[in-house]
């Protein structure tokens, strides 16, 4: 269980998150929606230990984010909104690079399989010459190398074709349902949110998303 308790975060004078509390159980898929600049990425960065909150605490099972940062990081699979791959490496070299530095060892076969699960068949191709959607797929695959228990995906499927998007969505959904992983992801695609999410949190002042999703019968909580 991931437990978030009265988080606050500001950048400069700008208060981004204020008194944010929620809980996510193992095996849950949780969506984060909100307008641009609402603070979705900021929240995911907090959950990924990439920034520290001013107040509040986060804990995963019995691991405290402040005290057990190493153990927490081992469990985190963070898929950044900005594609984070080495542009002059091939798909294979990117996977091998991060596998070498990763928490676990994987064989080349396993790494390749992971890419194929993301519907990325290219292997020796330079990532520079991949399409935008293909790079997105690689961006997800790299983050899954160490079998993380908590998946934090920041708009992972932008620009990925509809068919692949469904297959990746199903794959991630199954990770949650079959292996009890926690999946938290942001998206502006409401159809995707409706299809895969058990629950949805809405960040920001604009009630637009909340109304839209409640019309579709999805339970939306405001953070």
């Amino acid at each position: 269980m991931l437990k978030v308790d009265s988080l606050a975060k500001h950048y400069g004078l700008k208060q981004i998150l204020e008194d944010v509390s929620f809980q996510v159980e193992q095996g849950e898929v949780v969506g984060l929606v909100g307008e641009n600049g609402a603070g979705k990425s900021t929240l995911l960065h907090l959950l990924a230990t990439l920034t520290a909150p001013e107040t509040g605490s986060i804990a995963y099972q019995d691991l405290n984010y402040q005290k057990n940062i190493r153990e927490i990081r081992k469990k985190i699979g963070f898929i950044p909104q900005d594609i984070a791959i080495w542009e002059d490496f091939s798909v294979k070299e990117n996977m091998v690079f991060f596998e070498q530095l990763s928490w676990v060892k994987k064989s080349e076969q396993e790494l390749r399989q992971l890419c194929q699960d993301m519907k990325l068949d290219e292997w020796k191709t330079k990532t520079k010459s991949l399409s935008g959607g293909m790079k997105r797929k690689l961006n997800i695959a790299i983050s899954l190398i160490h079998d993380p228990a908590i998946l934090l995906l920041d708009e992972p499927t932008v620009g990925i074709d509809l068919k692949s998007r469904r297959e990746i969505g199903t794959y991630l959904y199954n990770l949650a349902k079959k292996q009890g992983k926690i999946v938290i992801y942001t998206s502006h695609d409401m159809e995707e949110i409706v299809t895969y999410c058990d629950r949805v949190y809405c960040i920001g002042q604009d009630p637009f998303y909340q109304e839209l999703l409640e019309e579709k019968g999805i339970l939306v909580q405001k953070l």
Binding site: R73, F78, P80, D82, I83, A84, F97, Q100, W103
Partner: protein, 378 residues
Amino acid sequence: MKQIFSTRWLHWRKQWLSLIIWLLLPIIATLMVVTIANQWQEETVIPIGLVVEDDTTMANDLVQAIYDTELIRVHQMEREQALTELEQHELDSVFVIEQGYMDKIKTNDRKKVITAYVSDMSIAYTPVKEAIASYVQQDAGASRAAYTLDAMATHYNTKPTWTWNEIVATSNQIKQEEALLDTDFSFNQQAKQHQENKALSLWNVWGIWSVFAFLTTFFLFDWVIKEKQSAIKVRLSLLPISFKGYLVRNGLLYGGLLLLSDLINMSLLSLYTGQTIDRNQVLAIIVFRFTICLGAFLIAQCFQTSFYYYVSVLPLTLIMAVIGGAIIPIDGLPNKWAWISYFSPMQQLVKSDSLTVWSIILLVVFFIWYWGKGEKHA
């Protein structure tokens, strides 16, 4: 560390050409500078006017000896023309072997065997005079009686309107030379000094090398900025080794690679200069390499974009080179303020010191950086 090596290797494989060029640049640039400087030195021989008014075997032998003297180029001509050229500063100084040279040597006549003229811009008069005096001494041969060389020096003003006659009129007779024994002694001293200069120039090879090594190290360390600013930083921050750990280990790897290339450079340079390298110098190179890698690493931490980093590296190199006396060793700043050179790592290398202010300061800064804030949430 094995993982760091294999992941860095992936990068190096892509950049092998530029990497090799950067690694070879210090030695290639140094050899180029040294070769050009040597050539230039060979070309800048001192032009001397020689007027021979005595046509005897002894005088001719003396002329031959003067021709054979290193670093001077002899122009033999009439006295009047020689003085005109001296006035126009085409000649550094003029020496006249006076009529009756042989007779005077034989009869041990001290007066006016050789007359010398100098201008106010002569730079090589004294060493050349002493060289000639030593040849004359050889001519004086068996008779070991004290003997002096009289010389006349004419100080030309830069005013080109002066006529030859005026110059002669205002010319002063150069002071009586000291006893030949003395002259001989001072000539030896000159020779000794010359040798020292040569040794200094060999060390200057290291000074020049250190400047290029400094520059290339800073340019090679731009990976720190690139990786710190890239989107990948997010991934690197979540690794078992923290982001700082990742940077430090890669910095060590770069340091090792550069040190390896230094040792190769060192052997090549020692082959070139014929100078053997002792343990102190190897130690000095290791400390130098460590210091500048650490410096480049920490300075790169302060920059957000590579461009401003590159722009700052050039003046930094220049300042370090000048205060370290790596490029202008004689009459440079370090001669005025000795302490200033302690602030340059080049000085440490040139002097083969193994401990420097910089290595200590940088180590302290490094530990402040490493244990400082941002370690957890890199």
